[in-house]
């Protein structure tokens, strides 16, 4: 079971630009590799990642088979309001891996 992780400055000054670092362990099976018998291994990747603050989207990514295993996605936001940051990764098999953090803006 993949276990995502995120890191950012959880207590920030209003207007501060925060770098949000994220990573999740996942094989990102591209769908283009063959097994020992020459058969294509079916694609199984995390195809989407989304970050929200208090339910409002801040950022999302749509990934394809060319994203490396254990995808890392870093981006920036401006600290404007306190609240719950939610991070979700969507697997081809329907699984959703989620993690959340509190952001405090002073």
């Amino acid at each position: 079971m993949p276990t995502p992780k995120v890191k950012f400055n959880e207590t920030a000054a209003k207007g501060e630009i925060l770098e949000i670092k994220t990573m999740i362990d996942h094989d990102m099976e591209s769908g283009q590799r063959k097994d020992k018998d020459g058969k294509l291994i079916p694609r199984k990747i995390v195809n989407k990642f989304i970050c929200t603050l208090n339910g409002k989207e801040l950022f999302h990514a749509e990934m394809h088979g060319a994203v490396s295993a254990n995808p890392a996605t870093n981006f920036f936001i401006t600290a404007t309001e306190s609240g719950t940051m939610e991070f979700k990764w969507f697997d081809d098999d329907g699984s959703v891996y989620a993690i959340s953090r509190q952001l405090t803006v002073n």
Binding site: K5, M23, D25, S68
Partner: protein, 271 residues
């Protein structure tokens, strides 16, 4: 005169097909490189591209951190019939595992042989936790090995090669210098005689082991030294030995001695 020589050289290169690429920048006098050099020994870090070094240096972005966190969680998780965790006996890893990873492989009096850190962890599981040993190269064993070894980060590799370890060490040394496989190569042909040269574009390193387990860009995974050794053997079309085999543990001891004095870098990131 000089320019015509250069032109001639350029022409030669063009005619001869392109030669190997520019190497990653490395200045032995750069203070930032000091932790990765000991005498004439150079960690694989010094042979890596700057972007690979940066990936290792960033504690969050180093992808091996995903395994480190799993190892940290396992450290305090009771397991086996004894319902004990690592921390039941050893307390805080940060305090009590310091200097443990830098001295393996090591002769173990209870095992009556030289064992590596993976085997030591499994011995603990069997003897003290009454738990089943983890499979070699399994996620929990890699995670725990990495978590324990990284407690020695920055400490020099320091293995014992005398006393009861002598015959194992000699065995490992023999392996290092013995040709094998269809390509008929010994470890030493690439990593002792030709480090700094290129096979196609690939820059050969000194084959130092102080960063293992390592996150390999190629594997897109954390992996053990033994997996790397087996991979090396396969590349030269030699029959690899099983992971955890006597042969590879002995070679691991010899390689650790070659890396003696370099700092433990676990978990490193390598190509």
């Amino acid at each position: 005169m000089k320019t015509s020589l250069i032109a001639l050289a350029a022409l030669f290169v063009a005619l001869a097909g392109s030669a190997a690429q520019a190497d990653p920048p490395f200045d032995p006098k750069d203070p930032k490189m000091a932790p990765y050099i000991s005498g004439d020994k150079r960690s694989g870090y010094t042979f890596a591209e700057p972007e690979t070094r940066a990936m290792q240096d960033d504690e969050f972005l180093n992808p091996a951190s995903l395994w480190v966190e799993k190892g940290e969680a396992l450290w305090t998780k009771p397991d086996g019939k004894a319902n004990r965790s690592c921390s039941s006996c050893h307390g805080k890893a940060e305090d009590n595992m310091k200097g443990v990873g830098s001295v393996y492989p090591k002769y173990d009096i209870h095992a009556g042989t030289v064992i590596n850190l993976e085997q030591r962890i499994n011995m603990c599981r069997e003897k003290h936790m009454a738990a089943t040993p983890w499979k070699y190269e399994s996620e929990p064993l890699l995670a725990m090995t990495t978590f324990v070894k990284m407690q020695s980060r920055g400490m020099p590799v320091q293995v014992q090669i005398d006393g009861p370890a002598v015959s194992y060490f000699e065995n490992g040394r023999r392996f290092y210098y013995e040709r094998r496989g269809m390509n008929d190569l010994a470890c030493k042909h690439c990593h002792e005689d030709n480090w700094g040269n290129h096979v196609r574009t690939e820059l050969l390193s000194q084959g130092m082991t102080n960063g293992f387990p390592t996150y390999r860009l190629k594997w897109q995974k954390l992996g053990s030294l033994h997996r790397r050794l087996a991979g090396c053997n396969e590349e030269i079309r030699a029959e690899p030995y099983p992971l955890g085999s006597r042969e590879y543990v002995d070679l691991e001891l010899y390689l650790a001695w070659r890396a003696q004095g370099l700092q433990v870098e676990t978990p490193s990131v390598r190509k």
